[in-house]
Each structure stands twice: as structure tokens, then as C-alpha cells.
Amino acid sequence: MGDYLTTAVALSVMVGAVRIATPLLLAAIGEMVTERSGILNLGIEGTLTFAAFISFVTVDRTDSLVLGVLFGALAGVLVSLVMAVLTVTFKVEQVVAGLALNLLGVGFSFYLLRAVFDDGGTDVPSVQSWNVVEIPGLSAIPWFGDVLFSQHWLTYVAFVAIPLTWLALNRTGFGLELRSVGDNPAAADLRGVNINRIQYLALAFGGLMAGLAGTFLSIFATGLFFPTIAAGRGWIALAIVIFGNWRLGRILVGAVFFGYLEAYQLTIQGQGTDVPQQLLLALPFVLTIVALVINRSRSNAPIHLGVPYLRGVR
């Protein structure tokens, strides 16, 4: 009996881990591509919040979950285009622009939430949300079927996005150009690569993925929106990119591992154990710093990350 319970709990933790990992993975893949083009986008947290809000309002007003995903993704692209105008066109410091977008993303969402729904009341409105999609056949496999094949469709998208992004980055001319812009923009410029165009596109992709991640938070996982819905996930996604040393395989491992920690922490929260939950919550961030120190000699970080490219200025 005890054994059976432990197994059931372990299974539910793993199912939760994959679910929690989904928005982290989506946002981290997008951020990784953006960083590969040399742009450090710290504004993921704000993007997640804004996209979560837009998809929430869309579903509330149109009752269409499909439109919710669409507009949520577009909201993500919109925020990242603001980032692009600021950092690519106007060469504003990327760190600063990212922090400004966090403030704006969260502030706008909060303001609009109150403006759209406000009645002075405290009750949070809720909308319908997507159901889990069981993949016929595969979902019947013991354990794996529950963990991997009985999830939201956006979870499958996140997993499929990994090989696709890998192919795009490493097996296409565009991917080569994108990586060259992040590593050596002067050389790319000399070869006739349009740096601004590449960085705009990379940011748009990052925004799209963060937008989907935000959508997941509101109209997949909960059907709710509240201003703290991102709860640091934008920053965790950033940590995962670093933890994964800008490699997709390790980013997947990182996202699932960080998701597992949170799922585990949620499970033990109600049970009272000797491991302080704060330790588990802090662990991803500590590990990211450790990973940075360990990987420093074989860092895969884009060489020109965070440095605005100005032609003729070194």
C-alpha cells in the first residue's frame, strides 16, 4: 500500500514536472535563439505576463481558445518588437530595455485587467481553458503514457520545437547567419548579412515563443489571470538558457529538471518534510551560477551577447 502510494505520488510529480516545464521550455527556446543573435532580452517576465493577459481577455470576450492562443502569441511578438526598436534600431542598452519591458508588460496587464474587469471586487474572473490531449495508443503506455502523452497540445509543440529549432539553427543558411551575427557581427556585416533584419527576426521568434508560454499559463494551465501569474518564470527561462549553455538538448534537461523541482516542492508542501521548500526553490538559481562557473572555459555563449553592434566601432 505504502509502495503503491509512493509510486502514484512519484508519477504525479513527473506529470506535473512536464506540465510546469512547458512554458519554461517554450520561453527558453525563444530566448536562446534571441541570444544567439547577440541580443540579451531580459524582458521575458513582462512578455509572459502581457501574453497571458491578452490570451485571457481574448477567450473571455470571444469564447475562442484558438483566438486566445493566436492573440497571446501575437502579443509576445509585439512586446519583442518594441524591444527590437529600442535595442536594434536605437541601440539602447539591452539590459535597460528588457527591464523597462518587464515593468511595462506587468503594469499594462494590471492596468488593463482593472480597466476591463473592474468592479472594485476582489474576485478574479476565470475563463475556459484547453483540455489535455491524450495521444491515441501512446497514452496507454504505462507511466510514459501519463507523463509524456497525456499533456496539453502546446506541450507537444514545445517538445517538437526542439529538433526543429536545432535544424533551423544548425542546418540552414539562415541559422548560420543568425549565429554569426551573435558571435561576430563585424564579420557577418562584411559578408553582407543584414544584421538588423536578423536581430529583428530573432527577437520576433523569441517573442512568439514567450507569447505561447504566457498563453500556456493563462488558458492552458489555469483559465485564470492575475498580475503575478508569471511568478518569476521569465527569469527561470533565462536561467535555463544559461544552465543549458545555449544548447537545446541541455535546455530541455534544464527545463524538465527545474519543472521537476517545482512539482516536487508543490507536492511536499502539504506534507511537511525535513527539506525546506525554500531550498528547493532557490536551487535552480544556485545551480545556474554554478553552471556558469563550471562552463566558463567551454562556454557556448554567443561572443557578442548583449553588445550593441555599431558599424565601425569596436
Partner: protein, 381 residues
């Protein structure tokens, strides 16, 4: 191409160099970087950016169906309408002056300390610990000084971790400080749930601290406390150190051009670490000031993004200490007035966050624009 640093700002899109040969006109306009931006343009950029942010927010207010002028009037009344409102505005501004100065000091060296938020908590921890240890042993005035010193040291140590990671292991300080913010929040959360939890409460908070450590109030009414005066003194100190000492010169040199500074004999690692320590110490003081001036209990919500708001303040103030004081008071006024605005006109208080974010973005854009000028030149192609 030209004698200036960056002749082509890719503003027109496409990143075409400005000197692309053209044959149809003998004279044409060219965008070029100014060697020096006159003060009135920089001031105009700040003013213009803020004004535009106010106008955009006016549209938002109108869109939400409220009276624009009445809302701004309520915002102003809440911030400065009465003597007590003005005092409370300064109360709100106090921690922001500290965190704004912390960001200013680091950013002058282009050391991107994004961790003022975490360093504030470290400082508050230090302050609480000192008061817990020493309250019965030390008389009031030296006790307050010691509590402040502990806060500064704790803030400096927490920032120093990121500083060492940068100087010893080449770890990017942006990433390190962001990660450390989350680590310290969880440390504080652990302490509040465990070792330091008030035995008489199930909230995550410490017991109320004794009145002897409380910072003295400045006026009979209102909550304005000595922390505000300390913040003003810090602003003068930061200005003095940056502009009038050799250390400040080294800090600014590293910010201007680290390679040139190193050739000039400045030990950049040492200066970067020192910059981080000073910045962290100032942020730590913000924690002590809030803890012993206002809350008198260590809680998880002693900071509502004060560290991040400080970064915005520093940037809107263009990294000038006097500007930081002004910007912090404006930000404090917005926070303070927002409640009144929401109560009397129904405009959501979150509007002021939008206003701050927009002001930052627009001031930054305007600051870029005024660094360039249009000049009619002979076509050189």
C-alpha cells in the same frame, strides 16, 4: 568616413551607411553623432520623454472612461495636496533614493548591478540581525549606527558575491545578480518561516523590533524618518566620490572605456569589485532604512520592487545623484498619489507603473536622439 565615432545610426532602418554614394544631390542631410550634447538638449530629452509618457497615459485614462484632468488632479492631490501627503511622498521616495544611488554608482562603471532588490533584503537581514544581537547591550545612538553598518556590510557582501564571480571567473554580473535576487528572497523566506519567525504568529514575519532601534521621526505627524536625511547625505557622498575623488575617476574611466582605463594603469578588476561593494552597501542601507524607519518587522514584502524601480530612477536621472533625488521624489509621489487617484476617480493605481515604464523608455529614446544631429553637408559620394 567622418571624424566622429558613429556616423551611421541605423534609425532610418535597414542599416544603410549614411555615406552611401548618391549622385542626384550635391548637398544632403546627414545624421551624425554629436561630440558633446549640450545640457539643454539632455534636459529637453528627459522633460520631453516624461511629457510624452504623461500624454500616452492620458489616452489610457480616457480609454478606460475616466476624466483625464480630474485623474491627474487626484494623483497630484494624493501626492502633494496636503502637508501630510507631501510628507508621505518623501517617505515613499526614501528607499528609492538609496536604490537609485546604488544603481547610479554601479552603472557609472558600466557594472550592471541588477541586484539592488536582493541586496536590499540582505541589508534588511543584517539590520535585523544586528538589532537582535545588540539591542540590550548598546545604547540607542550607537545601536542605530551599528544597525546601519551591518546593513551596509550585508548588502556589500551579497553584491560582492556577484563582484567576485565577475572578477575571478568572468561570470556576467547581470546574470549573477538576477540569480542572487532569487536566492536571497528564498533565504529570507526560510529564516522567516523558521529561525526568525515570530513565535506569536503564523505569518512569515519576525517579532516586532524594539523601539530603541527605530529611526527617529523628523516631523510630529507623518512617518518621515531619519532615513530620508541619510539618503540625502548619501546622494551628496556619491556625487562627491564620483566627481571629486580618484576612486570616482577610476570608476568613471572604466565605464567610459575599460581598455583605455587599463592601459592608463587602472586595475579594472579591483575597481569593478569595489564598485559592486559600494553599490551593494547603498542598496543594503535601503533595506535598513525601510526596516527600522517603517516596518520594524522583517517581512517578505518590505520591498515592492524598490530595487528595480531604483534602476529606472537612476536611468531617467541619467546617472546623476541630484537627478536621482528628484526622480525618486517624483516616483514616490506617483506611488503615493496612485492610491488617492484610484479611490476618487476609479483609475487603476497600476497606471503609475505604466507611466514609469513609458517614461523610462521614452527618455532613453530621446536621449539617443539628442546625441545625434542632422547636418547639411556636401555629398561626398
Amino acid at each position: 568616413m567622418t571624424d566622429t565615432a558613429s556616423p551611421e545610426l541605423a534609425m532610418a532602418g535597414g542599416g544603410e551607411p549614411a555615406s552611401t554614394p548618391r549622385t542626384r544631390a550635391a548637398r544632403r542631410w546627414r545624421i551624425e553623432r554629436r561630440l558633446q550634447t549640450p545640457w539643454y538638449l539632455e534636459g529637453g530629452a528627459i522633460g520631453g520623454g516624461i511629457l510624452l509618457a504623461v500624454l500616452i497615459c492620458a489616452v489610457l485614462i480616457a480609454a478606460a472612461g475616466s476624466e483625464v484632468l480630474a485623474s491627474y488632479q487626484a494623483l497630484y492631490n494624493g501626492a502633494f495636496g496636503t502637508r501630510n501627503a507631501s510628507i508621505e511622498t518623501l517617505v515613499q521616495a526614501t528607499p528609492l533614493i538609496f536604490t537609485g544611488l546604488a544603481a547610479t554608482f554601479a552603472f557609472r562603471a558600466k557594472v550592471w548591478n541588477i541586484g539592488a532588490e536582493g541586496q536590499l533584503y540582505a541589508g534588511a537581514m543584517g539590520a535585523f540581525w544586528a538589532s537582535d544581537l545588540l539591542t540590550d547591550a548598546v545604547p540607542r545612538f550607537p545601536l542605530i549606527v551599528t544597525v546601519m553598518l551591518f546593513a551596509a556590510v550585508f548588502g556589500a557582501l551579497w553584491a560582492g558575491i556577484a563582484g567576485l564571480l565577475r572578477t575571478q571567473f568572468g561570470v556576467n554580473e547581470i546574470i549573477a545578480t538576477v540569480m542572487l535576487n532569487f536566492v536571497i528572497i528564498n533565504i529570507v523566506s526560510f529564516l522567516l518561516a523558521d529561525w526568525w519567525q515570530d513565535p506569536a504568529s503564523f505569518y512569515y514575519q519576525t517579532a516586532r523590533m524594539p523601539d530603541v532601534v527605530a529611526l527617529p521621526r523628523i516631523f510630529e505627524s507623518g512617518r518621515l524618518h531619519l532615513g530620508f536625511i541619510i539618503a540625502l547625505v548619501m546622494a551628496v557622498l556619491v556625487w562627491f566620490v564620483l566627481e571629486r575623488t580618484s576612486f570616482g575617476y577610476e570608476v568613471r574611466s572604466i565605464g567610459a572605456n575599460p581598455r583605455v582605463a587599463t592601459y592608463g594603469g587602472i586595475q579594472s578588476r579591483r575597481i569593478i569589485l569595489a564598485t559592486m561593494l559600494v553599490s551593494g552597501a547603498i542598496a543594503g542601507l535601503a533595506g535598513a532604512s525601510e526596516l527600522t524607519g517603517i516596518h520594524l518587522r522583517l517581512q517578505l514584502d518590505i520591498s515592492d520592487n524598490l530595487g528595480f524601480t531604483g534602476i529606472i530612477i537612476a536611468l531617467v536621472a541619467r546617472l546623476r545623484p541630484a537627478g536621482v533625488v528628484v526622480a525618486a521624489i517624483v516616483a514616490g509621489a506617483l506611488t503615493n498619489g496612485a492610491t488617492t487617484m484610484q479611490l476618487t476617480t476609479g483609475v487603476p493605481a497600476a497606471l503609475v507603473d505604466v507611466l514609469k515604464g513609458l517614461a523610462l523608455v521614452l527618455v532613453l529614446l530621446a536621449a539617443v536622439v539628442v546625441n545625434y544631429r542632422l547636418r547639411r553637408v556636401k555629398a561626398d559620394g
